[in-house]
């Protein structure tokens, strides 16, 4: 029968270790209540070894290698639900950032392609590029002289869409000639 401690004085500082014989007795005694493995366990072991060949692998007593431990940890991590939700959240954030910071100016577009925001008009429209050093005043003066109106642009590469006011083909060709001959214009073609 165990006796209660009569003197309850606290041990100060480093506690002294328990007597070895008492420690051994405690561990032996408490093991008595743990039953041996049931016969069913050995039956299951026999089942397991029936299909198992002898191994020439490394000693299984040796702890797993550092790499194996890391691989196991990684495997445990990626199988966690929290990790899956984290990945999904990260993907959502990346998509949101992509759409937030992308604009139509960043999209690839052919020179002859129609531009977003181009006003609809019955007159034929033209794609025009001006020299890099052309001023706005010079461009406006040239377009006014040719009877042209900007209906789109400029895009990222300085491309304008213009339309000519002249309903007559001959006048329109005259205006085109003026534009083509201008030193301010580097490129002009009908837009489709």
């Amino acid at each position: 029968m165990m006796s209660k401690r009569e003197n309850k004085t606290q041990i100060s500082g480093e506690p002294e270790a328990l007597d070895t014989a008492i420690t051994r007795r405690i561990f032996k005694e408490t093991a008595e209540d743990i039953p041996p493995a049931s016969p069913d366990v050995f039956a299951r072991i026999e089942e397991a070894i029936a299909s198992t060949a002898f191994s020439e692998d490394a000693d299984p007593m040796l702890p797993p290698s550092f790499l194996a431990v890391q691989v196991n940890r990684l495997r445990d991590l990626i199988t966690q639900t929290r990790f899956a939700w984290g990945v999904a959240a990260a993907q959502a954030i990346v998509l949101c950032l992509f759409f937030a910071f992308s604009s139509s100016d960043h999209f690839y577009q052919t020179l002859s392609g129609s531009q977003p925001g181009v006003q609809s008009t019955s007159s034929p429209s033209f794609t025009v590029m001006f020299k890099n050093n052309a001023t706005i005043g010079e461009i406006e003066a040239l377009l006014a002289h040719a009877g042209a109106t900007i209906i789109g642009g400029p895009g990222a590469r300085g491309i304008y869409i213009i339309t000519l006011a002249q309903p007559d083909n001959q006048d329109r060709n005259e205006s085109l000639k003026r534009l083509k001959s201008s030193s301010l214009v580097t490129f002009i073609e009908e837009a489709y």
Partner: protein, 185 residues
């Protein structure tokens, strides 16, 4: 330490097992399963998986019996295998990262005066850190030499000695907290 001098009594059984002798393997199992189960009982928090760990351990023992090189006692070798299997199992089901973690203790109200001595002692052991409980089990239940314990735990012998000392002190503290006079056990 109480290591008995002389040949390892389990060695011949393991050698015969390595030759494919099922009967010897069964005798080896009968001689050792309780000791392994006690070790696992004190190491693993979830008692429901102990049988599974035992089965995997003995399967490994069967498979690897021919690789045993006699550098340790057969019992130490088997405990080492059980330890690795248990850690793998505990990692798989996300118990705890390492033995330093405190384990959830099943709340029990045990009255030392009720005469339930073993329950009180078991409760005191449950208060220990798992690494302290493990090293005391190896040293004082399995009576393994420090060198063998060092090999199983993969730590230096001096660390084993230090840890045993601290574990014994922790056990004494646990008993004191339960108002148990450890000098009168």
């Amino acid at each position: 330490m109480n290591r008995q001098a002389g040949p390892d009594p389990l060695l011949s059984l393991l050698r015969q097992t390595a030759d494919g002798d099922r009967k010897s393997f069964q005798v080896l199992y009968e001689e050792t399963n309780h000791r392994l189960k006690v070790y696992l009982y004190r190491l693993v928090g979830d008692r429901s998986c102990i049988d599974d760990i035992l089965i995997e351990t003995y399967t490994q023992v069967w498979k690897s019996s021919a690789t045993f090189q006699g550098r340790s006692l057969v019992m130490s070798w088997m405990i080492g295998i059980a330890r690795n299997v248990a850690f793998k199992e505990m990692g798989r089901i996300h118990y705890h990262e390492n033995l330093d973690d405190h384990r959830e203790i099943i709340a029990k109200t045990v009255d030392p005066d009720a005469g339930d001595r073993k329950k009180v002692l078991a409760l005191a052991l449950a208060q220990l850190k798992p690494r302290h409980r493990e090293i005391l089990d190896l040293a004082f239940f399995h009576d393994l030499p420090y060198r063998e314990i060092a090999d199983i735990l993969n730590i230096p012998v001096n660390t084993v000695k230090t840890r045993v000392f601290h574990a014994k002190a922790a056990l004494k503290t646990a008993l004191n907290k339960m108002d148990i006079d450890s000098n009168n056990l």
